[in-house]
């Protein structure tokens, strides 16, 4: 058995069907800034791709810089104290321990 449709006309606005047009226009007008932002983004897809990858690329670059800086620092420190280098090789202790001994001397 098919029941007849429900009459929803009491829900219609009292100021007539023009209400929907006015409300629709109001909503679209309020959406203009977001639509403009989206249109600008769509006009420059490379910017979108760049922005999407910018954060991970920057994080990776920062990590690489830190690692490279640390390695350079350690390398330079070794070159700065050949006595500690030699003592480290002679005694079989770490460079840091050997450097402590040579500094104390």
């Amino acid at each position: 058995m098919t029941l007849p449709p429900i009459d929803f006309s009491p829900l219609d606005p009292r100021d007539g069907p023009g209400h929907w047009d006015r409300l629709g226009a109001r909503i679209v007008a309020a959406a203009e800034p977001e639509l403009a932002r989206r249109a600008a983004r769509a006009a420059h897809p490379w910017e979108r791709a760049l922005l999407r990858h910018l954060r991970p690329v920057l994080a990776a670059a920062a990590a690489l810089t830190l690692a490279a800086g640390g390695a350079l620092y350690l390398q330079r420190e070794r070159q700065d104290d050949p006595a500690a280098e030699a003592l480290s090789a002679l005694l079989g202790v770490s460079y840091a321990s050997a450097a402590t001994i040579t500094r104390e001397e």
């Binding site: 429900i6 929803f8 929907w20 409300l23 909503i27 309020a30 959406a31 639509l35 989206r38």
Partner: protein, 187 residues
């Protein structure tokens, strides 16, 4: 089923900032979204504001709409969620009435207005007692005049399920409207 493809197409174009596509989405779903909003906040002016906020939120979050062909169901969920938040906010503002129609200029027939208001309130009460799936189907089909194929595609259900949900929703609403009976659960 051209309208089904249209929603997906319009969403894709609106994602790129196409004003006409967004306007078409708004005009297509406005009535049903408004009915859902009124079911939550009652006052038509609040429902207007709620629907506007919901459409704007939908536009901002449009990239997260996973299935654009089901835009209607996704939008109505936003309307309902925002509506519950708004209702809580309105309840805190004790001075604001929740279920009064805003005055409209022009001649009025007090008796007819009262009858219409009572019908409206009963409809909204009845809609509020329906499960979400039944409410969406009956609004899309009976209020907005959409065929079952489109209702089904919009909500991600089968046409058969759409028919069953519509039948249950109508039966439940009719029972609710009957003066000597209270709504009961369908099984």
């Amino acid at each position: 089923m051209p309208d089904i493809a249209d929603d997906a197409t319009l969403v894709a174009r609106a994602r790129e900032g196409d004003r006409d596509a967004f306007a078409a989405l708004v005009h297509r779903h406005l009535r049903v979204a408004h009915a859902v909003a009124r079911g939550v906040v009652r006052n038509p002016a609040d429902a207007d504001d709620l629907v506007q906020e919901a459409f704007l939120e939908a536009l901002v979050k449009l990239d997260s709409c996973r299935d654009p062909a089901r835009f209607a169901g996704w939008l109505l969920a936003i309307v309902r969620n925002r509506g519950h938040n708004r209702r809580r906010w309105l309840r805190r503002r004790e001075a604001v009435p929740l279920d009064e129609d805003s005055p409209v200029a022009g001649p009025h027939d007090p008796a007819r207005d009262a009858e219409r208001a009572e019908l409206r309130d009963r409809l909204l009460d009845g809609l509020g007692r329906l499960p979400e799936s039944q409410r969406q189907v009956v609004l899309l089909h009976d209020l907005d005049g959409r065929p079952h194929a489109e209702v089904a595609a919009s909500l991600g259900i089968s046409e058969g399920a759409s028919r069953v949900l519509l039948h249950r929703a109508r039966a439940r609403l009719r029972r609710f409207f009957a003066p000597d009976s209270l709504p009961k659960e369908d099984t």
